[in-house]
């Protein structure tokens, strides 16, 4: 009940913010304009629309997750709205969970709106509903939830600028993480290899959430692969949230 109240308030705050609408309208415009690019190609129009559309959803979703996520905790401290909240009978962990779920709801709504736009556009060009895209959209949302976890973790102990730098850095590293493993193989000393391997397992691996090329070409990944990826995303997100709760539990609100 209390976590839900915080989530709803976070959601209300975001949807009453004009920046969100600006990003959303721009994203829909970009998805729409992919039709223009598609018209320049022959026979590949649906693929181009879906590829560009899914990329747009991922990029704008990431922007929303990072820029709303980094302010989730810090803004409440900076504006001192948190003073009133913490004085009420809630635990700090409930506050973190409520803020996270509120932003998750914002992301779900945004992905749903952008995804509906993409499905409609694809329907026009393909002549049928490309339901497989829903799988890609679900994993994009899962990736955004992990990014939000990173943003809220950094936001719980540092400033928004540093949080943005850390989150975006991990976002980039997370997309290059298979290269990290290849890099480890270049070292002959086992200690160095072990250290890089450790980083490989600790840092997020966002490649687990990207099946777009398969889906656009008409295939669906194996059920077990999807299940493993879903578990990875959910567990990684939960671990980040737990760390954020621990970091915030004894923080002085100066």
């Amino acid at each position: 009940m209390k976590v839900l109240a915080i989530s709803i308030n976070t959601f209300k705050e975001a949807v009453r913010d004009r920046i969100l609408y600006t990003l959303l309208i721009f994203a829909l415009f970009m998805i729409g304009s992919s039709a223009l690019l598609a018209s320049l190609s022959t026979g590949q129009d649906a693929k181009i629309i879906q590829d560009l559309g899914l990329s747009c959803i991922s990029i704008f979703g990431t922007l929303i997750a990072v820029f709303l996520g980094i302010g989730l905790v810090y803004k409440e401290i900076e504006k001192r709205t948190l003073y009133v909240l913490i004085s009420k009978p809630i635990h700090r962990a409930q506050f973190i969970l409520g803020k996270y779920l509120g932003l998750a709801l914002v992301l779900l709504t945004n992905v749903a709106i952008m995804g509906t736009g993409l499905l409609l556009l694809s329907r026009i060009y393909l002549g049928e509903w490309p339901w497989r895209l829903l799988v890609a959209l679900a994993f994009t949302l899962l990736e955004l939830l992990v990014i939000t976890g990173l943003a809220i973790l950094f936001s719980s102990f540092t400033t928004p600028t540093l949080s943005a730098i850390f989150t975006l850095s991990l976002f980039l590293i997370g997309h290059l993480s298979p290269d990290l493993r290849l890099f480890a193989g270049r070292f002959s000393r086992p200690a160095a290899r072990l250290l890089i391997e450790l980083f490989y397992y600790l840092l997020p691996n966002f490649r687990h959430f990207h099946f777009e090329s398969l889906i656009i070409n008409g295939f669906l990944p194996d059920g077990i692969v999807l299940f493993q990826s879903a578990c990875y995303g959910l567990l990684y997100g939960a671990a980040l949230l737990l760390l954020a709760m621990l970091a915030f539990a004894r923080r002085d609100l100066k």
Binding site: K2, N9, E13, R80, V84, K88, P89, D252, L253, K254
Partner: protein
């Protein structure tokens, strides 16, 4: 040791903050031991930077003590059961811009675990009580500073708390607003509630507080009943006599603290203490001077406060 009969109890409470690149440790609150009894209005006084807000943040669990303990209403301050019986107004409060006044109170009610019917029954009468009933559906970003202070008070009272902790509640209010808040605090006391508030507006303290605590540079200087604290500090004694020749008066060589002052057919004499008073009175009676009145002049809270500030900062006392 937690005292169940106290509304607020702190023992040897200290707080250190770390500042700068070298993370230099600075103690901002030194071993605060304070007890606020249930049902009293307690004024917490101190100049800016004395540690009043730090104390309140420690009480409310916004920051954590470096040492010492805090208990509120006989329980641990961070216990949600205890928190649900407390109302808190922070200094210069700021609330969510995107909410209206009634939405904010509804949100606070939800966080307190109040059901929908209780929230609905409470919100409008409470807004009426703090004088912003007409702004119930106005977004908070359109509220004036005084209105924000009032909605802050409303959210602190929504759960009908036993203990109300207010950090500078009069700040940002005009004289009428201040009077209304004073009346509200007095009405809370009538309802049996405990009010602990910090302020630097001294007349408010003199008017409504049962007891006060004075904090200087993070140390509690004095706690007590205000009247008793000031009673003990008689600044001077004023003797009014019928008009006589001032030159004749000066020949008596009386131990006056100020030169005699002629005022509308009477003369005002000032002495510093009772010893000097006896001396002056016997001299005047021996000369056959008619004494109109003898009035001890007590120190005002402001004078007392300034003197303590000067003493703690090592500055010489001005005037007297």
């Amino acid at each position: 040791m937690i005292v169940d009969t106290s509304a607020i109890f702190t023992q040897d409470l200290s707080k250190d903050f770390r500042f700068g690149f070298a993370m230099r440790k600075v103690r901002v609150l030194h071993g605060l031991s304070l007890e606020v009894k249930r049902g009293e209005i307690f004024g917490y006084l101190g100049p800016n930077g004395a540690g009043k807000t730090t104390t309140i943040k420690l009480l409310m669990g916004l920051i954590f003590p470096s040492s010492g303990e805090v208990s509120l209403l006989g329980g641990r301050a961070e216990d949600p059961q205890v928190k649900s019986r407390i109302g808190f107004l922070p200094e210069n409060p700021y609330f969510y811009d995107h909410l209206t006044g009634s939405e904010l109170l509804d949100y606070c009610g939800r966080l307190l675990g109040m059901d929908k019917a209780s929230r609905e029954a409470r919100i409008l009468p409470l807004l009426e009580e703090v004088g912003i009933r007409e702004a119930a559906h106005t977004p908070l970003r359109k509220y004036s500073k005084g209105m924000v202070q009032r909605i802050g008070l409303a959210q602190a009272l929504i759960n009908n708390p036993e203990l109300v902790i207010l950090d500078e509640p009069m700040s940002g209010l005009d004289p009428i607003g201040r009077k209304e808040i004073r009346d509200l605090i007095l009405s809370l006391k009538d309802l049996g509630k405990t009010v602990f508030f910090s302020t630097h507006i001294l007349p408010d303290v003199e008017m409504i507080c049962d007891r006060v605590g004075i904090l200087m540079k993070g140390r509690l200087q004095e706690v007590g009943v205000l009247e008793e604290m000031l009673e003990a500090r008689i600044r001077s004694i004023e003797i009014t006599i019928e008009e006589v020749d001032l030159q004749a008066l000066s020949r008596l060589d009386l131990p006056l603290s100020l030169p005699p002052l002629q005022r509308g057919g009477k003369i005002l004499l000032s002495v510093r203490d009772e010893g000097a008073l006896q001396h002056v009175l016997s001299g005047l009676i021996a000369e056959g001077v008619r004494i109109v009145s003898v009035v001890p002049q007590k120190e005002t809270l402001e004078e007392y406060f300034l003197k303590e500030v000067n003493l703690s900062s090592g500055r010489p006392l001005e005037g007297r």
